[in-house]
């Protein structure tokens, strides 16, 4: 469904990505793993429209597409939950979930369109409920006073409530406790059931092996290896991440 071909990206002298190919199909969870600085977040940002790749093609649903801005990505149905700066602290949960896509009443179209707060609040509650996010007391709480796990739940709920087709999650469980991590993983499985393509970045191998249909390893900005579900042992994945036994795995792309 989403296919990247030969994506390269540099920041000044740092070559963050070198000719990376990547693909995700409907109803599939792909884990993107790699060491710190391997280029995982950069790859995600290239798809999300926050970074423009220097080189390479993005093919979505069979057509080559240009993703020049975040709204290009969301129009295509590609949603991203960022590792950092995902939510606006001073806005409440509902305001964040609808940010940029507010429901309004067309009082005077294009000029005066008051926000439909009640409608948005109801819908936000529905979404949180359907995703079994139960830890948030009030959807009118400002995000600044939520815990890391609560924020992540809000950020993911926000991303999946728009009929999106591909969801990119950058370390969605990094700040979470055990129970919350379980919830997020269950949520990811649920997204797969609904036929979405899910890309998960994670440093937690147990979690990756548990949830992913496919594991793609990035190393120093290059795609180093790919493992199908059940094909890899934790040792293999670690080896690919760190670069040990590169030769053996290198041909496995």
């Amino acid at each position: 469904m989403l296919e990247l071909r030969g994506i390269s990206k540099h920041f000044g002298a740092v070559q963050a990505l070198t000719e990376v190919d990547f693909e995700v199909y409907p109803g599939e969870v792909v884990a993107l793993v790699g060491d710190n600085g391997a280029g995982k977040s950069t790859l995600v940002k290239c798809v999300a429209g926050t970074h423009a790749p220097d080189d390479g093609k993005i093919v979505f649903e069979g057509r080559e597409v240009k993703i020049a801005s975040p709204s290009d990505a969301t129009h295509l149905g590609i949603e991203t939950v960022y590792q950092d700066l995902a939510l606006c602290d001073n806005l409440d949960v509902v305001q964040n979930m609808f940010l940029g896509r507010e429901r309004v009443q067309r009082l005077i179209p294009l000029a005066v369109e008051p926000l439909s707060e009640i409608e948005m609040e109801k819908q936000a509650l529905d979404v949180l409920k359907s995703l079994r996010v139960t830890t948030i007391d009030s959807v009118r709480t400002k995000v600044v006073s939520l815990s890391g796990g609560q924020r992540q739940s809000v950020a993911i709920s926000k991303a999946v409530m728009w009929n999106s087709k591909v969801v990119l999650l950058d370390e969605p469980t990094a700040a979470l406790g055990v129970a919350q991590t379980e919830q997020v993983l269950a949520l990811i499985a649920q997204l797969r059931e609904q036929g979405l393509g899910v890309v998960v970045i994670s440093h937690n191998l147990a979690e990756v092996l548990d949830v992913a249909d496919r594991i793609v390893v990035l190393r120093l900005g290059r795609r180093a290896a790919t493992f199908e579900r059940g094909e890899a042992t934790p040792d293999d994945v670690v080896a690919a991440i760190t670069g040990a036994r590169m030769l053996k795995i290198g041909g496995n792309r």
Partner: protein, 360 residues
């Protein structure tokens, strides 16, 4: 999804949860919260009581004096509304006093030039007053908006800090105003009908300018709290990068907000001409102080993302009440600037304490 099912429980859920949250605050935090929320009222009340006790009977605390205070506050309110939007984006506009001055200078000049021949106007005849007034008002507003637009474009296109850009345009606008006016007053007052109808006109017992300010306040309140414009302004100030990633046109929003501040400064210039019939640099040197003071004293955070229009409107009364009271007390009104300056610092300190509390 269980759509519609929970309609009736929505409000209930929210209220119940808020109860939980407030009850979790310690007594100290609750006291602090209360002080923070109401100190502005206490301070304003204290100021009024102070001047009342320090001035002769029937001089300060009278209806006509408060009408005067409201009149003098109308301009500050317009400036403070624009500054509120700017500060909510985590920016600052130091140029609104200069924009007001240059808009008023140009608007006034145009008004006089179109009113009649130089000789006619000098004799107090204004044969084409109505056209002149309308064009003059348009010049003020277009001029103000244009300078605001310049601020916004410089900030977003050149990625310069708002502080520097607006400090620069403050210098430019003050300098250009003096060049245009020759550093002196107009050769004649603006058309008297303009002053009579707007500057000195009254409606339901209040001067017209304060009604205009109230109108702008209501509109601004709705825009800030109930329209996307306000929501995006707060989002940009809260997390600029996050807002950008959500697909909000952040730069366009910033340009709009500075243009709005310029538009309001231009509108304040219209009031200034109508009230004072003339415009001079000296009376606008502390506009920035008063407007920014009103906004931060009113509870808008310099860190961005949080603010209220009503708070700024109330805050706008502090400089004018202080000015008025000090004049009646026969104390040099320069103390007003000192007082506002001290209050600003105190207000920002309070905001910082609160932020540290809430994010710990």
């Amino acid at each position: 999804m269980a759509k519609g099912k929970m309609g009736s429980s929505v409000k209930h859920d929210v209220i119940a949860a808020e109860d939980v949250i407030t009850s979790e605050l310690t007594r100290g935090e609750r006291a602090l919260d209360l002080v923070w929320r109401s100190w502005l009222f206490i301070f304003l009340l204290g100021l009024i009581v102070f001047f009342w006790s320090q001035t002769p009977a029937n001089s300060f605390l009278t209806g006509s004096n408060f009408k005067l205070i409201a009149l003098n506050t109308s301009e500050v309110i317009l400036l403070a509304i624009g500054e509120t939007f700017v500060i909510v984006t985590a920016g600052i506009d130091l140029s609104i006093g200069g924009i007001l001055l240059i808009a008023g200078t140009c608007g006034g000049k145009v008004m006089l030039a179109l009113s009649g021949t130089h000789a006619q106007v000098q004799m107090g005849l204004y044969p084409h007053a109505t056209t002149a007034i309308c064009v003059g008002i348009a010049v003020c507003i277009v001029m103000g908006t244009a300078w605001g637009l310049v601020n916004g474009l410089l900030i977003t296109l050149l990625k310069l800090p708002p502080f520097i850009v607006t400090l620069g345009t403050l210098g430019i606008t003050f300098g250009l105003s003096d060049l245009i006016s020759g550093g002196t007053n107009f050769f004649a007052p603006v058309p008297p009908s303009f002053t009579d109808k707007i500057g000195n006109g009254t409606f339901l017992g209040l001067y017209v300018p304060i009604w205009i300010a109230i109108f702008f306040l209501i509109v601004a309140h709705i825009v800030y709290h109930h329209l996307r414009f306000g929501r995006y302004t707060a989002a940009v100030g809260s997390n600029e990068e996050g807002a950008r990633r959500t697909g909000i046109a952040v730069n366009r929003q910033i340009v709009k907000v500075y243009a709005l501040a310029g538009f309001l400064a231009g509108s304040a210039a219209v009031l200034d001409l109508a009230i004072f019939t003339n415009i001079s640099r000296a009376s606008h040197s502390s506009d920035n102080l008063n407007a920014i003071g009103a906004v931060v004293i009113g509870g808008t955070s310099l860190f961005g993302g949080v603010g209220t229009i009503i708070g700024s409107a109330i805050g706008a009364f502090i400089p004018t009440i202080a000015q008025n009271g000090l004049v009646i007390m026969n104390v040099p009104s320069f103390w007003q600037e000192v007082l506002v300056g001290v209050t600003i610092i105190f207000a920002v300190y309070l905001d910082q304490v609160r932020r540290r509390r809430s994010s710990k």
